[in-house]
Amino acid sequence: MYNFTFHRPTTVRQAAGLLSRNPEAKLLAGGHSLLPVMKLRLAQPSALIDLSQVEGIVGVELKGRSISIGAMTRHADVANSPVLKEAMPGLAAVPGSIGDPQVRNRGTIGGSIANNDPNADYPAACLGLGATIITNKRRIAADDFFTGMFSTALEEGEIIVRISFPIAKKAGYEKFKHPASGFALVGVFASKRGSDIRVAVTGAGSNGVFRVPTFEEALKKRFSPKSLEGLTIPAAGMNSDIHATPEYRAHLVGVLARRAVAKAVG
């Protein structure tokens, strides 16, 4: 690990100020992705701005027909939130599937979304529910937020403060765990909120999380696993690595989408 300056602001405003004054700084929001690459000397931020003491960006709340989750809410706290489990258990299952207890007790939703790891679970949930990412500057629709592998619409000096998930009556997440890392080798989030039907896939695409319009179209006729039978997506554009071929990932998208829908309809 290289040397860096450590900051621990207590307000979003302070954090944003520090970020704009230190263009090479990184926000620390759990650190389970950032700290390992720093230890391996693959990242060299000039400063770390620790968000753990920032006020007002922690907690799960029911706000009308939405669930609002503060950016610094730990995965374990989202997974165990009674409010969320009551309102939308399909979303609570997502953080419950991340990593191991150590990761779930440190990692945060804001950190995960800002990092946009192509194998992370939360991006599928955000896209699969049409969430809104609320920053210190603006509101960004999930459809516009995830712009590619490890890449987001966040601009310099912009900090995620909370994520708002519209409550879908039917929502389910099915994940095929990467055998070594426990990330999603492929993960599919499916939801139905009125006429808005979404199927979002993480882990599979070489450009990060994506929606599957053909599946969504098929599900409009009837939101049932049966509607997806025989449907697959092309292997082109799928990730290829030592753990899975593009063909296998494409195949899993079909299988997991059916299982996610089955979970959603309970």
Partner: protein, 789 residues
């Protein structure tokens, strides 16, 4: 059965665990010496390259740098090369071709991670900063990674003195007899196998701490070794670092080895050399990334094998051709693993009249490959157990029945590949395993699974291994550079407590417990009054260390011999104490008695009298009670058994779950059944890891793709079912306790059981290890594309 609560056969809790689980273990990295510096290695990022220049000038100016040393200086100081200590001769009679292995590469690097320089710094962080400033000018060369391609005419030449990258072309057995048997066979089964390359991943990474004492000219090395005396011998006699009596090697608590800590590595040599140069202690502790790159890997065979059978399913002959990848350099015992530890076990538990095996060992631009839990025997078991299973399927026979028809039932049994099995009952372990696994109910379970979209399969592995390594004369005749006996010294203190010094080394096996159980049983003294000393060449007489499931069979036999001498001497002392004839003294349950009288002396009285020497004169009996023995076994031991694996495959995803595991093993005499069961569990987990998860992957350019736990899949508790473990017992006639050894059995037996089960489930033999979900799904696609789509 045990005669005492802490004797042989008692499930005594491990003495060492309190220390380990409360954080009081003393590992190499925990040892801190005054003025200690840290070593950071500069490693090659290329798999194959010439070193044109190394510029350390900028790096030397970095804060905290004590010195920076390179391979050129190592050569100037005449530090010798690392060696492989087992000579193998090719079939044409020529000796194996071993190229130079310097501890720091001076002119050429041959794998990613090859060390070219070392930074000695005040702190590791400063050392890393400086290492980044060492400028190495490389001329990158084409690399060869795949052992099957290493011998090709156009393959890159790795070592200038080794044509075709071929170390040896060895064979064993009677080629003519095998050819004749195949010509006459009714059925021939042919298979192609890859035994996947594994990373050992001991929990404690390798480490070395070297200290030079200018006053005495003595060197001390603390290191993560399974065999400190062998390390001292090689570093003294071959590397030429210091004479043996001026070098002390201490292997303190060691956190797992699995074979990978048998070998003598460049880093410990460099730390010793550097400590003498900078005149300060030098410590290196591997990080996990370095461990993946530089710990000797295991397995990595490419094999074609054939089995000839007659019309009744009797095996007539076996032949195999294997290419073994030994990596960029020949590690300490690498040459023996794919030869005498492999082909000699190809007979399995079966009566096979003739066997012929050819093995080509090759260099590639990858990390060195050497012994890893099982070492050669898992590879042999995988070949024979896959051949037998596939043969049964091709012949339409029950695989259990085919095994029974071919089992060896009379002992001793001389196989056509050197080994003479001395005892066993293969039908007994099979029968017990079939009962525990409820094989009769499998059909019902399979139908039930099918109702849930799952394919259920069952696979057997009736394995054998050669352990208790090893009779010295036998291994000497096969090329070993050392004898493989073991030593023990038993010191009885004046108060009757006992210290046992053993040449074995514990790095997870629990010797402090099991060896004490033996002493407790033999001397009738409390288990707590026995301590086991190991791992320090200044304390312990010469010893060969721990590997090859040898510590019980060989190490404890040495203790038995020393205890025999102790008992004989103590009886002489007791005769004086009890004023009786020596021939009338009896010793039982810690008490000396005079036959036919009620006179007795307690163990402690006799021990005290041996030291105060008031009751006898020195001319008649030497004072003291301390004896040493060196025990050389008369044969290998042959643990064997039957493992049965049941799996369920998710048809849609290929994800395979092990739903049932039965292991029935014959380990001969059991000292501590709890520890034995733990060894079986751990071995199975490692074997399942090889079969379904683990695999070292290099890119075509020689970059290590599986270089972290994010990409190298280790088996986890939730990947495994609760094991059903049973035992049968035939005692080994080759050592006084009848022990066979249990450390490797699980890892040897299990890969074949897993693959036999999955191939049974999916109805296709076309499946390589590791059988990941993707691999199983792809095999299903190839076999029945419509069903799996």
């Amino acid at each position: 059965m045990s005669s005492t609560a802490t004797g042989i056969g008692a499930p005594v809790r491990r003495k060492e665990d309190f220390r380990f689980i409360t954080g009081h273990g003393q590992y190499t990295d925990d040892v801190v010496r005054p003025g200690e510096t840290k070593a950071v290695f500069v490693r090659s990022p290329h798999a194959h390259a010439k070193i044109k220049n190394i510029d350390v000038s900028a790096a030397k100016k970095m804060p905290g740098v004590v010195d920076i040393l390179t391979g050129a200086q190592l050569a100037t100081d005449k530090i010798g090369n690392l060696i492989c200590g087992w000579m193998i001769h090719s079939k044409d009679g020529t000796p194996m071709k071993m190229s130079a292995h310097p501890a720091l590469a001076a002119s050429k690097v041959n794998c990613v991670g090859d060390a070219v320089a070392v930074v000695i710094a005040e702190t590791t962080a400063q050392g890393k900063d400086a290492a980044e400033k060492v400028i190495v000018d490389y001329e990158v060369l084409k690399a060869v990674i795949d052992p099957a391609k290493a011998q090709a005419k156009d393959a890159p030449q790795i070592h200038a003195d080794i044509p075709n990258n071929t170390i040896y072309q060895w064979h064993l057995g009677d080629a003519k007899a095998v050819a004749a048997a195949f010509a006459a066979a009714k059925h021939v089964t042919k298979i192609d196998l890859v035994n996947n390359r594994l990373s050992p991943n001991a929990m404690e990474p390798r480490a070395a701490l070297a200290e030079y004492d200018e006053g005495t000219d003595n060197l001390t090395l603390w290191n993560t070794s399974q065999n400190p005396h062998v390390a001292r011998l090689v570093i003294a006699a071959f590397v030429g670092m210091a004479p043996e009596h001026k070098l002390r090697v201490i292997a303190p608590d060691v956190g797992g080895g699995f074979g990978s800590k048998i070998f003598i590595y460049p880093e410990e040599v460099v730390c010793l050399w550097a400590a003498r140069k900078v005149k300060r202690p030098v410590k290196w502790t591997s990080d996990r990334s370095e461990a993946f790159l530089t710990d000797a890997h295991g397995r990595d065979h490419v094999t074609h094998a054939e089995l000839a059978l007659d019309a009744n399913g009797k095996i007539l002959a076996l032949r195999a051709k294997t290419i073994a990848n030994l990596g960029a350099y020949m590690s300490t015992f690498s040459s023996s693993v794919p030869t005498y530890l492999y082909a000699t076990l190809l007979s399995g538990q079966y009566n096979i009249p003739s066997i012929y095996c050819e093995v080509d060992a090759v260099y590639t631009n990858t990390a060195p490959v050497d012994a890893y839990r099982g070492a050669g025997r898992p590879e042999a078991t995988f070949v024979i157990e896959r051949l037998v299973e596939v043969s049964a399927r091709q012949l339409g026979l029950d695989p259990v029945d085919l095994r029974r028809r071919n089992f060896i039932t009379a002992f001793p049994h001389q196989t056509p590949v050197i080994m003479a099995y001395d005892a066993g009952d293969y039908n007994a372990s099979l029968k017990k395993a079939l009962e525990i696994a409820d094989v009769k109910g499998f059909g019902k379970r399979k139908r039930e699974a099918a109702r849930h979209g799952k394919l259920r399969g069952i696979g057997y592995s009736t394995y054998i291994e050669a352990c208790g390594i090893a009779p010295s004369q036998a291994v000497g005749s096969l090329g070993a550079g050392v004898g493989l006996w073991e030593s023990a010294e038993v010191r009885v203190n004046p108060t009757g407590s006992v210290e046992v010094l053993t040449g074995c080394h514990a790095h997870g096996q629990g010797h402090e417990t099991t060896f004490a159980q033996l002493v407790s049983e033999r001397l009738g003294i409390p288990f707590e009054n026995v301590s086991i000393v190991h791992g320090d060449t200044d304390k312990v007489q010469f010893g060969m260390g721990t590997y090859g499931s040898r510590s019980g069979a060989v190490g404890m036999s040495a203790i038995v011999k020393a205890l025999d001498k102790i008992e004989a001497k103590a009886k002489k002392v007791a005769a004086y104490v009890l004023e009786a004839a020596e021939g009338d003294i009896e010793f039982k349950d810690g008490k000396f008695t005079v036959a036919g009288t009620d006179k007795s002396a307690a163990w402690g009285d006799v021990a005290l009298n041996a030291y105060i020497a008031h009751k006898f004169v020195g001319a008649d009996l030497e004072p003291g009670l301390k004896e040493t023995s060196f025990y050389d076994p008369t044969n290998f031991t042959f643990p064997a058994g039957c493992h049965i694996c049941e799996v369920e495959v998710d048809i849609e995803t290929g994800k395979t779950e092990i739903v049932n595991w039965t292991a029935v093993d014959d380990f001969g005499t059991i000292i501590n059944p709890m520890i034995v069961e733990g060894q079986v569990h751990g071995g199975i987990a490692q074997g399942v890891g090889q079969a379904m998860m683990e695999g070292v992957v290099y890119s075509a350019e020689g970059q290590l793709v599986s270089g972290s736990f994010m990409d190298y899949t280790m088996p986890r508790a939730h990947d495994l079912p609760s094991f059903h473990v049973g035992l049968t017992e035939t005692k080994s006639p080759s050592n006084p306790l009848g022990i066979k050894g249990c450390g490797e059995a699980g890892a040897i037996a299990s890969p074949a059981a897993v693959i036999n089960a999955i191939t049974d489930a999916i109805g296709s033999e076309d499946l390589a290890m590791p059988a990941t979900a993707n691999a199983v799904w792809s095999a299903l696609q190839r076999a029945t594309p419509r069903q799996a789509a």
